[in-house]
Symmetry: C3
C-alpha cells in the first residue's frame, strides 16, 4: 500500500488531462508497453474497492467495500484513482458500473478524519486526490453508470453526479445530496458546477444553501438521479442500461461527452492550485476544526 | 424624507458590492460606530414600507404598503434600499420575509410616471435605484423569502425572483411574470439573467418574448414560484420555511449563495453605467414616451 | 437554378449577421431598392420548398416538399436560405410557419450523399450552407414556428430547435432527436448549444451521447417540443399560436430574442471557419467515409 499514494501523487501531478486520447502515463508505459498486447484484466481487489471485469461485455463493476460507510479517505481515493486508471487504459473495458458492497450506504463522502488535526501537507495531498478522482471520473472515456444502492451524501453524491447516468434503489430511506452546508462547509465550485449541470441553477442554488439530502423519490423528481428501481432489480437494470449505452460507437460518444463537460473540467484544471490553497486555508481555521471535531464526536456517540 | 434620496444616492454611488462581508458604508459608520453595540431594531415604518423585526427569531418582515398597487417609484425604491441596508447591517437579523400589505397585489412593478416626461438626470437616478435594489436583494447575506400574496408583474416579479425562495398564494386570479414585452419594453439583461437562473433558458426565452403573465398554478408549473399555499396559510408557511433556512449556519450558506449568483451580479456591476445609458436612450425615444403615455391614460380610465 | 448556389454563397460569405437590423445585402439592393415600395410576395415555389404568404395575417408558411424525405441537400439548403432571406426582407412578413408537405416526415436531416466521396471544396460549401441556415433561422427577426408533422432526426431536429416554438403531431410513430452519435458522427458544438438552450444540460448530455430519437410523447416530456396536437388540428393550432406571438409589438420581442440567443450565435460566428475545417477533416476520414457508405447502402436496401 505504501507505494500507492506516491503513484497517485505522480498521476495527480501530471496536471491537465487530455480528454479524448490520454498520453500514456509513465506508470502505464512501464506496465503495458505499447508493442505488447494488452493483458486482459479479470478481477482485482485491493483493500477498499473490488473490481470485476466482464470480458465478454467489456463492462467492469467497481464495488466500494470500505466499512463501515465507504468514506472517501486518502487511501480509498488512491485506490479508486488507480483502479480507474487501470480500466481507462484497458482497451477491452468500455464501461464501468460503480456501486457499493456495503448495505444501505453508497458512500458517506469525504473522510472527515483526513481534514481534522492534520498537517498542511496532508490537507494538500488529500484535496488533490479528491480533485483527481473527480477529474478522472467526470472526463472518463468509459461509460460510467452509478448504481446507488444506499445513501449517498456529500462526496458520495459527487461521485454519482460525475457519472453518465444514475440509477437509485427505490427506497425512501436512502438519501442523496450535497449536504455540506449542514456541516458549515461550502461545497467547492466544481461540486457546484457538476450539480448545476445535472439539476439546473434553481434547484442547485436552493439545495446547496439548505444542504438538502433528498429521499430517493424526491431525488428522482428533482433530476438528481435518472431512475428508481427496486433494490433487487438494480443489477439487472444496470446491465440493461449499460448495454444500451454500449450499443453506440465509442468514438462519437466520447467526443460528445468531452464537448459537453469541457467548460466545467477546464475550470478546475485552471484553478486547481488555488482551489487547494482555499481548501487548506478553510480547513485550517480553528472554527472549522472545532465544528469538525464536534461532528466526529457526534458520529462516535451515534455508533456506540 | 428629503435626505433619503441623497443617502440612497450615496449608497448607490459606492459601486461594487462585496458580497460576503460588506465594508461599513460611510452612512452606516456615522449611525453605528463599530465600537458601540448595535442597537436592536424593532419596528420602523416610513411612508411606503413597513418593517417588523422579530428579535427572538431574527426574522424581519417587510410589508409593501404604497397604495394603490405598490408601484416601484423612486421614493419607494429609496425606502426599500434604506430598509434593506439597515437590516443587512443588523447582526440580529438573519432573514427577511418580503410581502404586501395591499390586498390582491404584491407589486405592480416600476412606476411608469418616473419614466414619462422627466429629465435625463431623473431617468438616470431612477434607473440606478432600480439596479441598486436588485444588487442588494440578489446578493443579500440574509435569507430572503418572497411571500407573494397578490399579482406581481414586471419589476414586482423581479423582486420575487431575486429572493432565495418564493411562496405564492394559491389563487389563479393572481398572476406573475416579466411582461415588459407587452408594453413594447425590453427587460434588461440582468432581469433576463435572473429569470434564466430560476426557470432555465427555454421557458425564459418564450416568456420574455411573449411577456407572459402566469396565473399562480402555471407559475408553479414553470418554476417561477416554488410553492403555492392557500392565502390564509401564507404567514404560517412563511415562518416554517424561514425556520428551515435559518436552521443552517449562516456563513456556509452565505458563501454558497454568493458563489451561485456571482456571475450574474458581476455582469451588472461591470456594465452598470452602460446599462443606465441604454435605459435613458431607450426611454427618451418619442415612440416609447408615446406608448407609455397611452398606457398611463388607459390605467387612468380603468380606475375611473 | 444555376445561379442559386452562387447567391447563397454570396450571402454566406457576408459573415457576421447583425441580429436586429440587417444591412441590405447586395442581392436585395438589386431586387428591392429602398426608394421603391416593397413588392408584397404572395406565393413562390421552387423545386424543394413551397412558400405561401398570407398577407392579411403577415404569416408565411414554408412547406418542405423534397421527396422522399426532405433531406437537407446543398440545393435544398440554398433554396431554404433564399426563401428565408426574401421573407426576412419583406416588411409585411412578421412570422413563418415551417412544416412539411411530405407525409410522415418533417425532415430527415443532412443529405448524406453531400458528405460522401465529394471534394474538399464541396464539403466546405455544403457545411457553410448548413451553418448559414442555422444562423439565419436562429437569429430571425420573424416569429418562427415549427409544425412538426412527421419524424425529424438530426438536422431536421436542429431546424425545429432553432424556431421560437415547436408543435408536434401527437403520433408516437413520429420521432425527433439529434441522433448523430448513432451514425458515429459528433453533433457540432452549435447543434449542442441550441439543444442545451432548449432542454438543459442533463437531458442534452444524455441524449447526444445516446443519439436518442424520442417518440412525440417523450419529446414533449423532455421539452424538445412545446406541445402535442392531433395531426388534423395542427394547422388550426399553428394559426392560433402564431396569432398569440404576433399580438405583441415586434420590436421589443426581436431585441429580447436577440439578447437571449446572442451568446450562442456569436460562438459560431467567431469559430465559423474553424468549424468548417473540422467538418472537412472529420468527413474526409476513411473510417467515416466507410461508415457513411455502409449507412447509404442500408438505406438503399431498405427502400427496395
Amino acid at each position: 500500500m505504501a507505494a500507492a499514494p506516491a503513484l497517485a501523487h505522480r498521476i495527480a501531478r501530471s496536471g491537465v488531462l487530455p480528454l479524448c486520447r490520454r498520453l500514456p502515463a509513465w506508470g502505464r508505459a512501464i506496465r503495458q508497453p505499447p508493442s505488447l498486447p494488452l493483458a486482459p484484466c479479470r478481477a482485482f481487489s485491493n483493500n477498499k474497492i473490488q473490481v470485476e471485469m466482464n470480458e465478454s461485455s467489456g463492462v467492469a463493476t467497481m464495488k466500494f467495500k470500505s466499512p463501515p460507510v465507504n468514506s472517501l479517505s486518502l487511501d480509498f481515493l488512491t485506490e479508486f484513482c488507480i483502479s480507474l486508471e487501470k480500466l481507462e487504459n484497458d482497451r477491452a473495458c468500455r464501461g464501468i458500473i460503480i456501486t457499493s458492497a456495503i448495505p444501505k450506504i453508497f458512500s458517506s463522502g469525504l473522510d472527515i478524519t483526513e481534514m481534522c488535526g492534520k498537517s498542511t501537507e496532508h490537507y494538500a495531498e488529500f484535496w488533490r486526490a479528491v480533485q483527481e478522482i473527480w477529474l478522472r471520473l467526470y472526463s472518463s472515456n468509459m461509460v460510467t453508470l452509478a448504481v446507488i444502492n444506499g445513501s449517498s451524501p456529500a462526496g458520495g453524491c459527487l461521485i454519482a453526479l460525475s457519472c453518465d447516468y444514475r440509477i437509485m434503489a427505490e427506497n425512501p430511506k436512502y438519501t442523496i445530496g450535497l449536504n455540506e452546508a449542514q456541516l458549515g462547509i461550502v461545497a467547492p465550485f466544481w461540486f457546484k458546477d457538476t450539480f448545476v449541470n445535472v439539476v439546473g441553477q434553481r434547484v442547485a442554488e436552493r439545495s446547496l444553501q439548505l444542504g438538502s439530502l433528498y429521499p430517493a423519490p424526491e431525488a428522482l423528481k428533482f433530476g438528481i438521479v435518472d431512475e428508481l428501481v427496486p433494490e433487487e432489480k438494480l443489477q439487472e437494470k444496470a446491465a440493461a442500461v449499460m448495454a444500451q449505452w454500449l450499443a453506440l460507437p465509442d468514438h462519437a460518444r466520447q467526443i460528445t461527452k468531452s464537448m459537453m463537460r469541457k467548460t466545467v473540467l477546464d475550470r478546475l484544471v485552471a484553478h486547481r492550485e488555488e482551489d487547494i490553497k482555499n481548501f487548506i486555508s478553510f480547513v485550517s481555521k480553528e472554527s472549522i476544526q472545532k465544528s469538525l471535531r464536534m461532528y466526529m464526536e457526534m458520529l462516535k456517540k451515534k455508533k456506540s
